[in-house]
Symmetry: C2
Subunit: 164 residues, 2 copies
């Protein structure tokens, strides 16, 4: 199946509230590419030169360009929606503490762990992000509404975007 943009679909399984267990874990990995930083800047309007301008960033405390902190936030969102609980999850809240800079070329792994099941399908999840050296780059916690029933969901992928 393809959508209006000609993108392909995939499938995603989800874990309903009932089947979630405290201590249950999942992870989501993604490399941080130059293109991701440019896409984040284009989508949000965040043109902070510490992310986009090599010359400016060289004079900053980081000595080189870094990824937007909220880019890691976007990966946490993807981790929850793609892995645990999976498609159909509704986001209620997120806390994040940015511990270390993320550099272009880093590979990030979002590690999720179910912390608590609350009434009315609410769930608290640890959402910590590590780089390829196993350093904690973002410490965080999400509150979500878990799906009510088990289901395999057909996922529609977004189109491929190219710089024009």
């Amino acid at each position: 199946m393809s959508n209006a943009y000609g993108a392909q679909s995939e499938e995603g399984a989800r874990t309903p509230y009932e089947a979630l267990e405290v201590g249950q874990k999942a992870s989501y990995e993604k490399s941080v590419e130059e293109r991701d930083i440019q896409l984040f800047a284009a989508m949000s309007g965040d043109h902070n030169p510490v992310h986009l301008d090599a010359e400016f960033a060289a004079k900053s405390m980081f000595r080189e360009r870094i990824a937007h902190g909220m880019f890691s936030g976007a990966l946490i969102s993807a981790a929850v929606a793609c892995t645990l609980p999976g498609p159909g999850t509704i986001y209620l809240g997120q806390k994040m503490s940015f511990q270390k800079p993320v550099k272009i070329g880093d590979t990030l792994t979002v590690r999720l762990e179910i912390l608590e099941k609350l009434p009315k399908f609410k769930v608290r999840i640890a959402t910590n992000v590590y780089n390829q050296n196993d350093e904690l780059v973002v410490e965080g916690e999400a509150e979500i509404l878990a799906p009510r029933k088990q289901q395999t969901v057909e996922l529609v992928s977004p189109p491929n975007f190219v710089a024009s």
Copy 2:
């Protein structure tokens, strides 16, 4: 000036730590377009059908597709980096509580207010997001490192991305 992608530059003024005052306010407005949702999905890998699949979303509690919660997070990031304190600000942390769904076509306004100046250039900022009906959609708070000196910064814009 243009960057490797042929994008144009703009200018941004920033407010250094010293000049920030508790109660100081700024705002950042953006309409939520179909393209933004697709860009967010492409950049993050968050293909949750509640954002991308009209048929799936019609059966959800929202009855139609909604924007990713973290898309509002990206706008908060942009508000802090573009307006107050402005370019060169470093993100330390963010708390967000998603209060109401954001629909495609909504116009969001991030309202910033300086809450507290802490030692070592740290600042706490209220980061609340409202829709065009003045309804609070995201309640939040950021902790940032403010720039140390006043400066007008030349901003390099990202390229324009088109669906291929």
